[in-house]
């Protein structure tokens, strides 16, 4: 395929205040080509994709469409010129029918000025049939169909709106293996109809299957564009990380007999994960690593009673939990949980001390908690974790993200739990705050707490864990001792 590029970016730069997200990036997309964008979190993939789709309209550099310079001010404008985006979170209307979704905002109109349902349903059926989806009833609500089909409908809608270029952001994270196969076939069909696709994914092996060319971004720079057939998974990972990686796989963790297993999860299964079995011993930090959508966050939530599971069992310090339990039950039986969304887990408008003492209020005073005691407990806890400024009466919302996370962890210092589950503890923090927060997590483990850290950031997991459990597509794929492990090992397992 040596056709002229449909779309070309020339030395694109974009910065957010002090942060240089992209510098002088070149990128081109040929007709009928599937071009993958790879890179670590924060490498600039999302920024580039948003510029392509017209979401960001302020940037430096040139954007050429069919050789003509363009500058989109909105995604709508980009779509009008044939560039459509499929977001990771689908933007379909589940209550509307399949056909309505495909023609959202552009329903065919009959001569009487009403919606021409017959024509709409017929066209929808034809379009789906062209792609081999014969079993879909376009008159049924879209929500009756699995996510894979909903995604197909969104792709079709974008194409029917006139898109020649499709930008797909992590399209497979929530799909089952069979659905992924179908998506790959769909991409092949689109390729035959000369549509071009920008494909963004964490899964290197998947990229190797669908892409014609692969562009790797690192720290906001284009470090190279390679043809798929000239490349291997190892080469790509080296380019993504910017250094040579060893080809040898590390030894799997020996099923080390822990003298005191505090968290024992056996065969846990739900829709988002299956047969998750893991153990965390007293004083141990276990990393639960996976790409977004791997089911590790849902697993973490299940351990705190926030996500229903259908199979398997959770036991804490030898006591098996009931199938359905509340967060309150979990706390009372020694499980603590800190999630990544501080907005959801903290009371930002309320004083730090109220945030810290809330789970333990019944221990501070049966009916009337004493303010002095509360302040004493909270004061000690925030000094220990180093919240700055250390003033327990300040509202949490005034603190920086890192300090807020420290407050979330400081909660569990005074009355330590047996098991602490932390989800994505360092998202969006600078390096200094990250290492401080991770040190607190380690310190908590030193006290004899069993800590499980669920994260999609390999750095976080590597920095804090004794052992790493890797999940991919809802399953545990490997358990590794964290000795001389490198990022590439984790990325390969996704």
């Amino acid at each position: 395929m040596n056709a002229a590029p449909v779309l070309e970016l020339r030395s694109i730069s974009k910065n957010f205040r002090a942060l240089q997200a992209l510098s002088e990036v070149n990128f081109d997309l040929r007709e009928g080509e599937t071009h993958a964008l790879c890179g670590e979190n924060g490498a600039g993939k999302s920024t580039l994709m948003r510029i392509l789709a017209g979401i960001y309209s302020e940037y430096q550099g040139e954007y050429l469409l069919d050789g003509q310079p363009v500058h989109f001010r909105s995604p709508r404008e980009a779509l009008r010129r044939g560039i459509g985006m499929i977001h990771q979170e689908l933007s379909v209307m589940p209550e509307l029918t399949v056909a309505e979704n495909m023609f959202l905002g552009r329903q065919p109109i009959s001569p009487h000025g009403t919606v021409d349902w017959g024509a709409m349903n017929r066209t929808a059926e034809e379009e789906l049939a062209k792609l081999g989806f014969l079993e879909i009833d376009v008159r049924r609500p879209l929500e009756k169909y699995p996510l894979g089909i909903q995604q197909v409908v969104e792709v079709l809608r974008t194409i029917l709106s006139g898109a020649r270029v499709l930008i797909m952001d992590e399209p497979t994270t929530a799909l089952s293996p069979a659905e992924i196969e179908r998506l790959i076939q769909l991409i092949d069909t689109l390729r035959r109809t000369h549509r071009s696709i920008v494909y963004i994914s964490h899964f290197i092996s998947e990229v190797m299957r669908v892409a014609d060319r692969i562009t790797i971004l690192r720290d906001g720079r284009n470090v190279g564009t390679v043809e798929r057939q000239d490349s291997t998974v190892g080469v790509l990972i080296s380019m993504i990380l910017g250094r040579e990686v060893s080809a040898a796989a590390p030894p799997p963790a020996s099923a080390k007999e822990h003298e005191r297993v505090l968290l024992d999860v056996k065969g846990l299964g739900a829709d988002a994960f299956t047969e998750v079995t893991l153990q965390v011993g007293a004083g141990e930090v276990v990393g639960l690593y996976g790409a977004i959508g791997a089911g590790h966050f849902e697993t973490a939530r299940a351990l705190f009673g926030l996500y229903r599971y259908d199979e398997g069992s959770v036991a804490v310090a030898g006591e098996t939990f009931p199938r359905v339990f509340s967060p309150r039950f979990a706390i009372e039986h020694g499980v603590a949980y800190a999630i990544e969304s501080r907005r959801k887990s903290l009371f930002l408008d309320d004083a730090i001390f109220k945030n810290i003492t809330l789970p333990h209020l019944h221990r501070i005073g049966r009916f009337v908690p004493r303010l002095s005691k509360e302040l004493e407990i909270a004061g000690a806890a925030i000094t220990l974790v180093g919240v700055h400024p250390p003033e327990p009466r300040n509202p949490v919302g005034k603190l920086s993200g890192g300090n807020q996370q420290k407050v979330a962890l400081a909660r569990w210092l005074t009355f330590p739990p047996k098991v602490l589950v932390v989800a994505e503890p360092t998202r969006g923090m600078d390096v200094g705050a990250k290492s401080e927060v991770l040190k607190i997590v380690r310190d908590l483990a030193e006290q004899g707490i069993a800590v499980l850290v669920a994260s999609s950031e390999p750095e976080t997991v590597l920095a804090v864990s004794d052992r790493i459990v890797v999940m991919s597509r809802g399953r545990v794929v490997r358990q590794l001792m964290n000795t001389n492990l490198d990022k590439d090992v984790l990325m390969r397992l996704l």
């Binding site: 949980y337 907005r343 408008d349 809330l358 209020l361 009337v368 009466r393 300040n394 005034k398």
Partner: protein
């Protein structure tokens, strides 16, 4: 979160950072915006009425007129603080007075049992509001709306559509007797209202339950993550509100000297207005019992004050009340800093 108590960010390079946690005088001043509104209204009516407004008798009248509203508002504050609402208070109030009257008159149940059973019914209806809403995840807006029709319907059925004038002496005393002899200004109902507000204030301010109420309202998800049984807190608040609606019902029946076969619907909207005037956020988590009391007084002062200015056309009074309420609400929101922070 979109409520704030002061500035969100302290600008870099601002002068000496003030002692963290200490509130500035401006913040203290604006936090009490409803109180200043009440003072301004008092001054305006004091002058506007040519002295009749500020007479002791009239001021005491305001207290007396406020009493049923204050009791209702106490219950409503609990509910609104959790971010929920109870639309059944006026209906439950009417029903309770009627039950007490019928039990005493027709079933000849001696006092205080008739009143106590009636209060138990009101509490039970509040409990039903809470349990049904939480168990079936129906918004309290809907359940309590249904409950208001149920209670109204029960009232009509129990009363057979007739007003009852023969009340027990207990109910009459609650509604009209004075404490400390005939010359005393303090009415029993005023004492009940003040007592209710005071207990409510102490519970909200100092108890563990009070903290749970505020935190559940501020963020249900965060409260759950901290192990607070949010559903139980909401059920408790709706039960408290039911009970207090009942108390207000008995007080009102005594005050009117009769039990009516229909409720007085305006009590619902007046209660919500008074609580919100006090600065309690409809979204929950923010507000105080003290300011609820102030809100109730603002409302009654407004009504009473307009009656004392003879030059105002009677037909204009409702219009003016609405207008002043709107202005007072705007003032409260602007000056108490409850502005939207995050517009996303």
């Amino acid at each position: 979160m979109n409520r704030s108590e002061g500035p969100v960010l302290e600008k870099e390079g601002s002068r000496k950072r003030r002692r963290a946690g200490a509130r500035t005088w401006t913040e203290r001043f604006t936090a009490l915006a409803p109180l200043w509104t009440l003072l301004v209204l008092g001054i305006v009516f004091g002058f506007g009425s040519g002295g009749s407004f500020l007479r002791t008798v009239n001021l005491n009248n305001i207290l007396i007129q406020s009493s049923p509203l204050a009791i209702l508002a106490t219950g409503m504050t609990f509910v609104l603080l959790t971010g929920e609402i109870d639309l059944s208070i006026a209906a439950v109030m009417g029903l309770t007075g009627m039950i007490a009257a019928r039990l005493y008159l027709d079933l000849e149940i001696p006092e205080p049992w008739a009143v106590l059973v009636a209060l138990l019914c009101a509490t039970g209806l509040g409990l039903v509001n809470g349990v049904v809403s939480m168990r079936f995840r129906i918004p309290t807006f809907m359940t309590t709306l249904a409950m208001s029709m149920i209670a109204d319907g029960l009232n009509q059925w129990v009363s057979g559509g007739k007003t009852i004038f023969q009340l027990s002496s207990l109910v009459q005393d609650i509604g009209s007797a004075r404490i400390g002899g005939d010359d005393s200004l303090l009415r029993v109902m005023t004492a009940i209202a003040i007592g209710t507000l005071l207990v409510g204030l102490l519970v909200l301010r100092f108890t563990r339950f009070g903290r749970y109420v505020y935190m559940s309202g501020a963020s249900k998800s965060a409260a759950r993550l901290a192990g607070v049984n949010v559903n139980m807190v909401i059920i408790s608040c709706l039960t408290i509100c039911g009970f207090l609606s009942g108390v207000a019902g008995v007080v009102m029946a005594g005050h009117l000297g009769s039990a009516l076969p229909t409720s007085i619907p305006s009590f619902l909207i007046e209660t919500i207005a008074a609580v919100v005037l006090g600065g309690t956020a409809l979204t929950g988590g923010r507000g105080s019992m003290f300011l609820t009391a102030v809100g109730v007084l603002i409302y009654e002062t407004l009504r009473n004050g307009l009656d004392n200015i003879t030059s105002i056309n009677n037909f204009m009074k409702v219009f003016i009340t609405g207008l002043v309420l709107l202005v007072a609400l705007i003032v409260n929101v602007v000056f108490s800093g409850h502005r939207e922070r995050d517009l996303a």
